[in-house]
Structures are given as C-alpha cells and as structure tokens.
C-alpha cells in the first residue's frame, strides 16, 4: 500500500470533490504498481494527455472538469491535435476534430497553461536544479531531467494530469538521487568540425538511445560544443529511439561537472567509445530514402526555438522555397516572430508555419512522400506516423534542397 499523508487521504476520499479524488486515486494506484512507498510533492507539471488518441481521453478530461478538478501546481500543455492559429491546415474528419478541440479546452478548464508546445522549457517553463516535477512527453522529460537537472519520471497520458491535480507524483525512479547515477559512459572522440555540425547531435542521440536504452549514460568529450538547442536535439532523438529519460554531459549539465560526479563516485560499468565513423554511420541510419525523392521539408521536432528560426532565416538568405517547407513551433514563438517582422520574412520565403501541434502528430501533410528534415525525432516518426520516407540532413542541406527549382 502507498503511504498517503492525511491531506492526500482526505482528497482521495472526496474532500476536495470527485475530480480531485479520481486524480489522487489514480496517482496512488499507480504508485502501488510502480513500487513507490509514498508520493513526492511536485512544483510543476507538463501535460501530454491533450493530444487526441480517441474519445476516451476527452471523456476522462471532461469527467475531471465536471468533478471540479483543478491543477494544484503550474502545468503547461504539450501539443494538441489542432493548429488553433491556422485550423484549416489540419485535415481531421469532423468527429475527431470536434473531440480533439473539446480535449484541448478541457485541459484549459483544468487550469493548465495553453502553451501547446513540446518545448515548454524554451517557452517560459524552466524548473531549477533538483526541482521535483511531474512532466510528460519523452523529449520534455529528457530535457528537464538532463539539461535543467530537475527530477521527473516519464509520466504518460492520464497520470500526468492526475499528478498535476494531486500536486504529487509516485516517489520512485528519477525523483531519487541514487537512481540518477550514470552507470555507463559514452566516450566521444570526434574532430571539432564534426561536433560543430548540428546534424551530429541527433546522431549522438540515436547512438545514446540504441546503446543505453533506459540506462543512465554520461557523455564525455563534447563539452566545448554543447549548446542548449543541440542538447535538445540529442535528447529528443534518444528518447524516441530508446527509453532515455536522463543523460549527463560531462562539463555541461548540472549533475555532471565531472564524470565522477555524474557517476556519483562509482566508476562507470561500461565505457562505450563513439568515433567520427560511429557518428557518420548513425547520421546515415536516420535516412531511408534518396535526396532526389524528397517531396517536403520539415523542421521543429522539438518545436523550434527563436535561435533555430534565426538560423533558418540566415540559411534562406532571401530565397524562396520550391517545396512545402514546414516549420513547427510554439504559438509564443509565432507571436515573437510576428512582433518583429521575422514572420513576414518567412511568409515571403514560402515557409509554412505549424503552431500548437506538429506534422507527425496530426494530418497536415497530404499523401505519401519523402520528408527531408534536420530532426532525428521527425526522422524516427515520419515513416510510421505519416507514411513518408525520410532524408536526415543538417539545416543548410534541407534549405539547399528546398530552394532548388
């Protein structure tokens, strides 16, 4: 049995209404299954359950709303199934469209912040080192754990909002210090020009995902080149390809000032060498179609930061794209782009902006084809989700292909 506090027990028994009781009981029941002896209070949440997978999710969220539930801690929302800034570009049939919108609205009624992004950490939601949080969505989880040093497990649909309403999560796994220890090391030895190539970082993520799985790894040898956007890309790819929820980068991430610190003073059990050849092979493995067959380009998985949009504008250099070119980002980023004229530059170049959702999570791209992308996560999901072949390449290559007449 899980040891609830008096306050938690009172909520589970209905003292704060039926919705809060349902949420608290779900967290408590999950804790029992996960072997957690008690719950840990959390200071924030990030919710993935707002993406439509069927009417059950809408029923669950609306039942919580009808039962008077509200989130007890600040909670941001991951992508929905609709682009509410440009609804026509999502081609959902009428019933699914209606239920997907009701789902999004229900999460707003629960008190969540309508951020509609998989990069909340670059849109105002940045927990500090050691903060206990309940986050969902695999890339957001790996970023908040690894780059920010906060503490969460991979909380999936239904449990994420239940933790936000309960204000607590099962006290197990990555909430605990000992579980955050790196037990393997990835020793990267590659020339500076390889590490300075943005395409290397999703490739490192693919290697991490395949070799480490859910084991915690410390990556050594990349200190000088690790920017936040590169770590975002690495983590997102790793979390898609494997079950990576936390990694350390020696000399960069908060829990890894040294390899010894990342390993909590126990030597790593395995050291995996990663060479330039390994990186190039991993890059190649993310593609499964020829460049000549590309029919569309997409960037922004996770959602583009303002810096990544700037890099796109620089690469475009005033040219227009000749292929559909989708930039997936948050509505907050779109607002910023509209306020300073960068949106107009993108529009003039023929770029299609997708906000609140993304091209592999909802039907935006028509038919089958080949998608070119600089995102390891798009490369991983496009074949299964939108029946597209993929070509993985750096942003500059994607732009070069897109502007070809």
């Amino acid at each position: 049995m899980v040891d609830l506090t008096d306050q938690q027990r009172a909520v589970a028994d209905g003292g704060s209404g039926k919705g809060a009781a349902m949420a608290m009981r779900l967290v408590a029941d999950a804790a029992v299954i996960l072997g957690a002896p008690r719950l840990v209070p959390v200071e924030s949440a990030h919710i993935d359950g707002c993406l439509y997978h069927g009417d059950g999710g809408t029923e669950f969220a609306e039942t919580l709303v009808a039962g008077g539930a509200r989130v007890r801690v600040p909670a941001t929302l991951n992508i929905g199934s609709l682009d509410l800034l440009n609804p026509a570009q999502v081609r959902l049939p009428p019933h699914e469209r209606k239920m997907a919108l009701r789902l999004m609205r229900a999460y707003e009624h629960l008190g969540c912040r309508a951020t509609w992004t998989c990069a909340p950490y670059q849109n105002g939601h940045r927990p500090g080192v050691g903060a206990q949080v309940a986050w969902g969505e695999s890339n957001a989880v790996v970023f908040v754990n690894s780059v920010l040093g906060a503490r969460t497990n991979r909380y999936g649909d239904y449990l994420d909002i239940a933790c936000a309403i309960a204000g607590a999560a099962p006290d197990y796994g990555l909430h605990r210090t000992a579980a955050r220890r790196a037990t393997i090391a990835l020793a990267v030895t590659a020339p500076d020009h390889v590490l300075a190539d943005d395409a290397t970082w999703p490739a490192l993520g693919a290697i991490l995902g395949r070799r480490a799985g859910s084991t915690i790894a410390a990556i050594n040898g990349v200190t000088a080149h690790a920017t936040e956007d590169r770590l975002k890309a690495l983590g997102a790819t790793a979390a898609s390809v494997g079950e990576v929820a936390l990694f350390h980068v020696v000399g960069v991430t908060p829990e890894a000032p040294t390899l010894a610190a990342a390993c909590q003073d126990a030597p790593p059990e395995t050291i995996i060498p990663v060479t330039e050849a390994d990186i190039l092979a991993a890059m190649a493995s993310l593609s499964n179609a020829p460049r000549a067959a590309v029919t569309a380009v997409a960037i922004g998985s996770p959602h583009c930061s303002l810096g990544e949009i700037d890099a796109l504008v620089t690469a475009l250099d005033g040219r227009q794209v000749a292929l559909p070119f989708y930039v997936n980002t948050s509505r907050d980023v779109v607002t910023a782009l509209e306020s300073d004229g960068r949106r107009a530059v993108l529009d003039a170049a023929g770029i299609t902006i997708v906000a609140d959702t993304c091209i592999v999570a909802t039907p935006i791209i028509d038919g089958d084809g080949v998608l070119m992308t600089n995102s390891g996560k798009f490369a991983h999901y496009a074949p299964g989700n939108i029946n597209h072949g993929v070509v993985f390449a750096a942003l500059s290559d994607c732009v070069a292909r897109a502007v070809q007449p």
Partner: protein
C-alpha cells in the same frame, strides 16, 4: 495446469490464449476500433486480440499506449485478460482510467519468470486485489 502470477490490475477473464512472439506497442500497433494488431512486420499482424487472454513478454515504449488500452476498453474490443512478462504501468493506467470511468477493464497480471512454452488453449486468469496480490492462470477445459 495452474501458473502463479502477480496482480497488476485485479479482475477475472477467460478466453483463448494468444501469445505474441515479438514485443508490441499498443500505440501504433493495435487498432482500438477492431482490436486488430496492425503493427507493420509484427509476426501476429492481422490477429484480433478481442476476448483473448493476451500473453506478452515485453511491451514497447510509448506512454500513449494507455490511451489505446482505454479505447479498447470503451469499444469493448479489449482482451479478456493480459499476462505480462514485466511490469508495465502504462497499460495499467489505461485500465485504471477505464475502471474510474465505470467501464469494465481486463485483469492484468505479471508472470515471472516468463515460461519457455507459454500456456495455450482456453485460459482463466484470476487476479485478486490489490496490486501485488496473488493471481492464477488456469488452463480450463473447452
């Protein structure tokens, strides 16, 4: 024949055994409207798991598999029972939400160690509550 297992989600279910010979993600791998396995290249692709006692040694990833479990429950296309080779909270959460919304969820039990020859034919799974209690998998005569 009786196998001892451990309860993840309590309940009782009876049906013909269906053992998956490769790992499966419910999300992207099962059509919740028809209960059919749709995962590309899966050895049991095309098989309907509705009403079967599903034996899966290992599930794959995606936390959105909880949503597919809930849809199967709501659509009455769920298996009669699920026997897992390792604890999977995601599937369990789908079942917990189904129960909370007053639907009928199949029992889910943990069978460790996974048998070399999983049971075949008609099975009854009886899982006592709460989680971690004893559960039984019985072969029943047709």
């Amino acid at each position: 024949m009786t196998l001892a297992a451990r309860t993840i989600i309590p309940g009782e279910g009876t049906g013909e055994a269906l053992t998956l010979t490769a790992p499966l993600s419910l999300w992207g791998g099962v059509d919740p409207v028809t209960g059919t396995i749709v995962a590309g290249h899966h050895p049991e692709r095309g098989v309907v798991l509705t009403g079967r006692v599903l034996l899966i040694e290992r599930l794959v990833g995606s936390s959105s598999s909880a949503a597919i479990m809930l849809e199967l429950i709501r659509n009455c296309t769920a298996p009669a029972a699920v026997v897992l080779g390792s604890v999977d909270a995601i599937l369990a959460i789908g079942a917990l939400v189904g129960t909370a919304l007053d639907y009928s969820a199949p029992p889910i039990v943990l069978l460790e160690p996974w048998p070399t020859h999983p049971p075949q034919g008609q099975l009854r799974v009886t899982a006592e509550g709460p989680a971690h209690s004893q559960a039984l998998i019985n072969a029943t005569p047709d």
